[in-house]
Amino acid sequence: MKLYPLSFLPSKDFLEKRLARLLLAACMTSALASCQALSFYTQAIRGQAEITFTKVPVFKVLQSPATTPELAAKLQLAQELVDFAESELALEASGSYRHYADLQRDHVTYIVYAAPEFSLEPKTWWYPIVGEQDYRGYFQKEDAKDLVAQLEEEGFDTYLGGVSAYSTLGFFNDPLLNTFIEYPEVDLAELIFHELTHQRYFEKKETSFNEALAEVVAREGTRRWLRKKGDRQALATYELRLKRRSAIRSEIESSIARLKKLYATPLPAEEMRRRKTAELQSLHDEVKKLYAGWQQKPSHFLSTPLNNARLVSFTTYEALVPELQQRLESHDRDLEAFFQDIEKNGSLLPPSP
């Protein structure tokens, strides 16, 4: 999952250029924020500062005799992936992923989604610069848990997830993190291409669109990467994985459609609650069945209880993927032309020719 928190401590690399912009943003935040919001921004500043001052240029990590061969190999792979993204995928890293930070924890941030008990409309939060978003991110799990408790008290369904990577949209030079550097090659490629897409294009208040765009570019990029390497076996495995991902998505989308229909009915709360629980249980069983059929270990999706917030988090990332994929096809998979189309039309794309 990806998160775009606001943070106001400058990277040393960007200090001169961006100091004025940062101060302006900080002043705006202080002026607008309530006490609770202020505490949110304080932890965001602290968290981003930790990353900024922990990160070290990749070549420096490679020079250290303490660096293990495994980490060195991953860092080298990551640099090759970033170079590939810049030369072949019409993406620009602008200094991102050229540093490494070991945060000494499993997740860089914790993200909270919320939705009313009988609705799939996500609760949103407003942030300076990036605008309205469907989630709230914290660098400390305890802070995220506090928000979850508060939202549950207000009657919301909630979902708290650990996040391995996030993008500051080019505001800072995002580093490679210990939270994802050990990913298998295909996952690392998808992640880097996904995050760099956000740096190329990001539309305020359009979380679903932004995430779907990043997914489409990441998948295309990963295919091209595997093709360039001539790794047919890995490419076939990747295509199979995408197919399976699509099958799961299809189950979830059907369930979402049924739930939306249910929530639109004037049923009493008790009956609606009963039917909702049954629907979510049925989704859980169907997805489990799919994994069993593939003789594959169930994913993280089944490890947390399903509720509206969990489904909201899923729709955020997947819903517009097919439409954008078709759009890319209409440009003969020319990513530069595809991006130019997106930059011209934004999320209000005309129908594919």
């Binding site: 040393k12 200090l15 001169e16 240029p57 990749v58 070549f59 420096k60 490679l62 020079q63 250290s64 005799p65 660096t67 061969p69 060195a72 860092l75 080298q76 640099q79 970033v82 170079d83 050229r98």
Partner: protein
């Protein structure tokens, strides 16, 4: 007053690639007659450490240009351009005899004296050359 004692300047020439394959570490030692440029590749976990140290002797007259670049919150750069690029052609990161050396923090004080020292040594050399020519002319006449 100009200090003519030998000066040692430690520097780095950053690599062009992000893996730092061709980063160079070195030391400039300013003698009375010439400059010793000691250098080696920094190396990394892939090369199992640094390469062997090499030495290039640069006579003062070979230095065509010297300048210091100081920037806010950034390391100081010493830019040396040599008349004969071949002297340093083996060192990575140098373009046609133009070396941009990132000065290590430990050499911050010493670097202040480099400009004057090189000017002084070049003047001494030019003076010597002029005297030699004058002596030759006197001998002829």
């Amino acid at each position: 007053m100009l200090n003519t004692e030998p000066l040692n300047i430690h520097f780095t020439i950053p690599a062009k690639d992000h893996l730092g394959r061709e980063e160079v570490q070195g030391q400039l030692r300013f003698h009375a007659e010439h400059i010793d440029l000691h250098w080696r590749m920094t190396g990394n976990v892939f090369t199992k450490g640094p390469s062997e140290m090499k030495l290039v002797a640069i006579p003062y007259p070979a230095v065509a240009e010297v300048s210091l670049k100081k920037r806010w919150l950034r390391p100081t750069e010493l830019i040396l351009r040599l008349e004969n690029p071949e002297l340093v052609s083996e060192i990575p990161g140098i373009e046609v005899g133009r070396m941009v050396l990132i000065i290590d923090a430990q050499s911050k004080k010493a670097i202040e004296k480099v400009n004057d020292l090189i000017d002084f040594q070049r003047s001494v050399f030019l003076l010597d050359e002029t005297n030699k020519r004058l002596d030759a002319m006197r001998a002829e006449s």
